[in-house]
């Protein structure tokens, strides 16, 4: 098996707001291997995006803070780095793609400028080599006519093309870890398919480890090797993608997958999860999914279920699973 690139252990992140402490991430552990894609799936507000920002240490301070845990990238705990050391990691070792391609590029600089900036910062290249490097980043993302594109401004490009440019910025220094936060959500179906295929291609070429954050099981099924299902700040189940789809162990995972309409099966009635996710401000004791769970037991109400390892790759936090 290939090396573990990133290991997150018992991560806790909180937002301290006027109303009180919001535990956005409440004890999350996972790892990603070289050349592997780990998916974090969940509904809005479950803490999946905060996980990405915590790893990059770009939480909106002072409200958002990591309160506990370790984030180990190739042996180094990122939480122990100085601000300056951390900056050297960003862009070079870890990079990120944000959801909305329309707003994540600076409108006043050309595409080329924005990629070159990253290249100059992290790679010790003579100035005349920079452009070649920028063009190669655009090529990696299969952007047509890269020599022409570098002179264009973001508003001259379509949404799909902009998201490729964001990808080119992120991949320009060939990072070890790429965090993709809903990169396909804003794109149309056929463009989405293009983008995902592109990702697989890039991963094959660069062996980058990818954390893919999404709410869309269709996307998960295509690109992720392993998946963590997140709910209200916690990963409830982690398993290889196939197992998640074919044999989900956690009632939430099962319910979520059943509630997604699928092309290949047509049910008369969709399975639906009643109720709403709990407020992160005042989490009830016991299992956080308990109020919406259809197979809950008495113990679920009182005690939080421990994480049970079914095998090396599959772990679940549910009292039903022994």
């Amino acid at each position: 098996m290939s090396n573990i690139v990133l290991q997150v252990e018992n991560l806790h992140t909180s937002f301290f707001t006027r109303a009180g402490e919001v535990k956005a991430i409440d004890g999350v552990s996972f790892y990603v291997r070289e050349g592997e894609t780990f998916g974090i799936v969940g509904e809005s507000g479950c803490g999946k995006s905060v996980t990405g920002l915590s790893i990059l240490r770009l939480l909106p301070e002072p409200a958002g803070q990591v309160t506990e845990g370790k984030i180990i990238l190739e042996g180094k705990n990122l939480l122990e780095l100085s601000k300056k050391e951390m900056r050297a990691y960003r862009g070079k070792m870890i990079s990120m793609i944000l959801q909305d391609p329309m707003t994540s590029l600076n409108p006043v600089y050309t595409v080329g400028d924005q990629i070159a900036e990253s290249v100059r910062l992290h790679q010790d290249l003579p100035e005349n080599m920079v452009e070649a490097e920028v063009v190669s980043a655009l090529r990696l993302l299969r952007i047509p006519d890269p020599e022409m594109r570098i002179k264009e401004y973001p508003f001259q490009l379509s949404g799909g093309m902009r998201q490729r440019v964001v990808g080119a910025i992120a991949m320009s220094c060939r990072p070890r870890l790429l965090i993709a936060d809903e990169p396909t959500t804003a794109l149309d179906a056929t463009i989405q398919a293009q983008y995902i295929a592109l990702f697989e291609d890039i991963q094959a070429k660069t062996n980058v480890a990818i954390i893919f954050i999404t709410h869309d099981f269709g996307v998960v099924s295509r690109i992720c090797d392993r998946v963590g299902v997140m709910y209200a700040g916690k990963i409830l189940e982690t398993a290889p993608t196939r197992e998640i789809f074919k044999a989900p162990k956690h009632p939430y995972t099962a319910a979520l997958i059943n509630s997604v309409p699928q092309l290949d099966k047509k049910d008369e009635k969709l399975f639906s999860i009643e109720g709403q996710p709990p407020s992160l401000l005042n989490l009830p004791p016991g299992c956080r999914f308990y109020p919406r769970c259809t197979v809950s037991m008495d113990i679920c109400k009182e005690q939080e279920p421990p994480e049970v390892k079914l095998d090396d790759n599959h772990s679940v936090s549910c009292w039903r699973v022994k």
Partner: protein, 307 residues
Amino acid sequence: MTRFIIVRILQAIVALIGIAVIVFFLVRVSGDPMALIASPNMSEEQYQKIKESLGLDKSWGEQFWIYIKDMARGDLGESLIREKPVTTMIGESMPNTLKLTVPSFVLSMILSFFLGVMAAIYRDSFWDQGVKFLAVLGQALPVFWVAIMAVLIFSVYLEWLPVAGMSTPAHYILPVGTMILFMLPGMMRLVRSSMLDVLDSEYIKMARIKGLPERSVIWKHALRNALITPLTIIGMLLPSLVLGAVISEQIFNWPGMGTMILQATFERDFPVVQSITMLTAILVLGINLLVDILYAYIDPQIRYQRA
């Protein structure tokens, strides 16, 4: 881009003619201009002479045509009281006004951008609170009063600074300070809020993800975007600039255009007031044009769309 500028210039000329019409008729609709000029002890001969020299014996249409023609030639007419061409009067007072307004404007801009940006970067800090307090105070206190109180404290009691005159740099401190007070608070507030908006944006997050040091994030990525909104309203600073200049010149006996036009107003010297109003209109339109072009330069989207 050239087309865009040409269209804008044509629009400005149309607007200018519109303003000229309004100003011309405003002065005449309100009554016979001669009634404003004539004094009771004027002889009939004098009265007629003045009327002829001003062309007031002709029809309105003819008068308007002459007025436009003269203006296009750069002839702004002659003062009724001083019997000098208005252009000469402007030529005498303009340099003094520029000596006052240019440093004030430049300093206000530098200060407001610096303070506004700093307040936004160090949000809720001591800095920010200070800037906000300054803005609240600056937008509430009447500037002429602050200036007078400053004279009272620094000139009358402490005797640190001179009250009137323009011979030494020390003479500039109070008048320039007064003018800055007119422009600084509003601009500072706007820069701060615009910068806060930009700092919240996704592309700033992206710049941090790249690992850029904070100073590049702010001075390269954020600032240029944050400048767009304040720049679009730079034209709207002109009223403050004019008011500031007139009040500052008035308080500190500065022999500039402000003093001149105020005097002309009290003497009902209408060719002077009318000419300066027209000149200001040209300035207003010119600045708006300039801002449009500058805006297009900063925001590539506009530059390309209108090209």
